[in-house]
């Protein structure tokens, strides 16, 4: 594979709550510009992994490296500032505020003007222009001034991705980007993800196998907090172990 530091790497990452181990010595590499999927049955520890990497949980052991630098003990906000950004499985937006406001808040934080108490927010035109351009790019310009809560859920999921883009991510962790969206509307989200800049390393945590095989060029399978197997989609689809614990489970349903 590629040389040089990975966009994101974990070494022996471990987290336990008492007797329950949600992450067990996970060694994981996300290459620069990767299109990587993390899959696994319910309770495999996928979301815990995201929480560990982003700093919402602190690990019991192991290291997290971002672009080669150790970020294991950095607070969440600092990791975001460096470009380690996530979206949530259940949409986390400012529901009462407009789309433009949602994205502008993110852009302002990234530009370091979120704490400015003297100038009116409207005077920071560059930030608003940037936020609007992102919404336009995602096809959300028409709804820019509407409150998030009035949008269809599929549009809200897109907004969630747009807010993340407002933070200029180097690594973007998409936690089930299409969760809860009616099947007819997932296409729009997949297109948006495919259109993301190739410089952003993507890690997609997903249940929907169609989506995974469409988007990912590399797949890691997590079972009970451990990496079961990792490889290109064709290898994963053919792996008997994976078929048994994961695909088989779905096929049997």
């Amino acid at each position: 594979m590629s040389s040089g530091p990975a966009a994101l790497e974990t070494r022996g990452l471990t987290k336990s709550f008492g007797a329950l181990t949600v992450a067990n010595m996970i060694d994981f590499r996300l290459e620069q510009g990767a299109r990587h999927a993390l899959i696994g049955p319910n309770g495999a520890g996928k979301t815990s992994f995201v929480n560990l990497v982003t700093g919402a949980l602190s690990p019991s052991g192991g290291h997290i490296l971002f672009g080669g630098a150790d970020i294991t003990t950095l607070p969440q906000a600092v990791r975001v500032k460096r470009g380690l950004v996530r979206t949530f499985q259940v949409t986390q937006l400012f529901r009462g505020l407009s789309l433009l406001e949602n994205v502008t808040l993110a852009v302002c934080e990234r530009r370091g003007i979120g704490g400015d108490l003297r100038r009116p927010a409207g005077d920071h035109r560059e930030a608003i222009d940037e936020a609007y351009a992102l919404l336009e790019k995602m096809g959300l310009a028409k709804e820019a001034l509407r409150p998030v809560a009035t949008l269809a859920y599929g549009r809200q999921r897109l907004t969630e991705v747009t807010v993340a883009l407002g933070l200029a991510p180097k690594v973007l962790l998409l936690d089930e980007p299409a969760a809860g969206v009616p099947t007819g509307e997932t296409g729009r989200i997949v297109e948006a993800i495919e259109a993301l800049s190739p410089e952003i390393a993507l890690l997609i945590i997903e249940h929907d196998m169609d989506l995974v095989f469409r988007l990912a060029r590399r797949i890691t399978v997590l079972v009970q907090g451990r990496v079961l197997v990792e490889g290109p989609p064709a290898k994963i689809a053919a792996d008997p172990q994976v078929r048994r614990v994961y695909l088989g489970e779905r096929a049997a349903r």
């Binding site: 982003t54 919402a56 969440q76 906000a77 600092v78 990791r79 975001v80 500032k81 950004v85 996530r86 949530f88 986390q92 937006l93 400012f94 529901r95 009462g96 505020l97 407009s98 433009l100 406001e101 502008t104 808040l105 993110a106 302002c108 934080e109 990234r110 003007i113 979120g114 704490g115 400015d116 108490l117 003297r118 100038r119 009116p120 927010a121 409207g122 005077d123 920071h124 035109r125 608003i128 222009d129 609007y132 310009a141 028409k142 709804e143 820019a144 001034l145 509407r146 807010v163 407002g166 933070l167």
Partner: protein, 344 residues
């Protein structure tokens, strides 16, 4: 009927109008902080009250000062989403600071206000530093305990504060050495009006700044604020400190205009009633205080002259009904019929 038809027509027009896009949308968004004509209303009303009800100037002055208190509480509750039962801690700190100065041969009112603001802000900062890492019920308890601590301190330090009897013997000097606080309350009225106006300018600027918008973000969704890399704790602490300072000024205004400070200025009842006033007007929207406080104060004045004791029964009933049926207060009702007025 005509009004209903007008409202319906407005709603339909708003729904059918094509969405604003492109530079126009950015323009609409960026100009939200511009002053609007209706924002002159509170000040015109205040001047109107001065002309029409000259006999009620002391009440009007109290109302203006209390609006400032409610505004301070709204910053914390309505913008930053911190449910507090201890806002009186800062009101009382300001009141006692100005009061003790005036009772000890420093009756200059404006420096008194500054001293009150600084003292209250320091208490706000220090207590915030300790408690604002908590959330939910623990935080609620801690705000309550901070106020209880200060009240008990004031109660027991009776040599300085007058304890249970209240602080007496305040001598407030004329403003700028010229305008005396008279019996009819004219000076007090304009003093409170001017201070409220200046503080309102500050608060207005604050809530429209990126900082103020980020507070709204914290109230709407803390997890999201963390995820966009905002230093949530420091934002909260900053607004808590500013709010404490404003509450301190409000307390000092009432102390100076009434020449009295009692233990109730630090009491739970005051922390509770300010929440009611806000909920009557509307929480988290800058003008809720301007509507809720006068309604409350005027009603209290009217009802207590008829029936001083049972005022609390009716206000209690009103709270129960508001929570059960009309969340959002008066401005919430306005929203329902006039969606374009949301910015109020």
């Amino acid at each position: 009927m005509a009004a209903a038809r007008f409202i319906r027509a407005r709603l339909i027009r708003a729904a059918e109008a094509p969405p604003i896009v492109g530079p126009a949308a950015i323009e609409v968004f960026a100009r939200r902080h511009r002053l609007r004509p209706y924002e002159a209303l509170p000040w015109l009303t205040a001047l109107g009250a001065y002309v029409l009800f000259p006999g009620y100037l002391p009440l009007a002055a109290q109302t203006l000062a209390t609006i400032l208190f409610a505004l301070s509480a709204d910053l914390v509750l309505g913008y930053a989403g911190i449910v507090t039962l201890g806002q009186a801690a800062f009101f009382g700190t300001g009141a006692y600071t100005a009061g003790i100065l005036a009772a000890n041969d420093w009756g200059e009112p404006i420096t008194g206000l500054f001293a009150a603001a600084v003292t209250a802000a320091v208490i706000g900062f220090l207590s915030g530093l300790l408690i604002l890492r908590s959330s939910g019920l623990t935080l609620l308890m801690q705000t309550l305990v901070v106020a209880a601590l200060l009240r008990e301190a004031a109660n027991k330090a009776s040599a300085i504060t007058g304890g249970d009897d209240g602080l007496q013997g305040m001598q407030v000097w004329p403003i700028f050495g010229h305008f005396e606080f008279g019996l009819f309350g004219r000076t007090g009225f304009f003093y409170c009006l001017a201070v409220l106006f200046l503080c309102w300018l500050i608060v207005r600027r604050l809530v429209h700044s990126p900082f103020g918008r980020s507070l709204t973000g914290i109230r709407e969704n803390v997890a999201r604020m963390h995820a966009i890399g905002a230093p949530v704790f420091w934002r909260r602490l900053t607004v808590y400190t500013i709010s404490a300072g404003l509450a301190g000024i409000s307390g000092a205004l009432i102390a100076q205009t009434t020449s009295f400070v009692g233990l109730d200025s630090l009491g739970l009842e005051r922390s509770g009633t300010v929440l009611i006033m806000l909920i009557i007007g509307g929480v988290g929207r800058l003008y809720g205080a301007f509507i809720g406080v006068p309604l409350y104060m005027i009603a209290q004045d009217r009802f207590s002259s008829i029936d001083p004791v049972y005022w609390y029964f009716w206000i209690g009933l009103l709270m129960v009904l508001l929570v059960t049926f009309a969340r959002g207060g008066v401005l919430g009702l306005v929203d329902r019929f006039w969606p374009a007025g949301r910015r109020l």
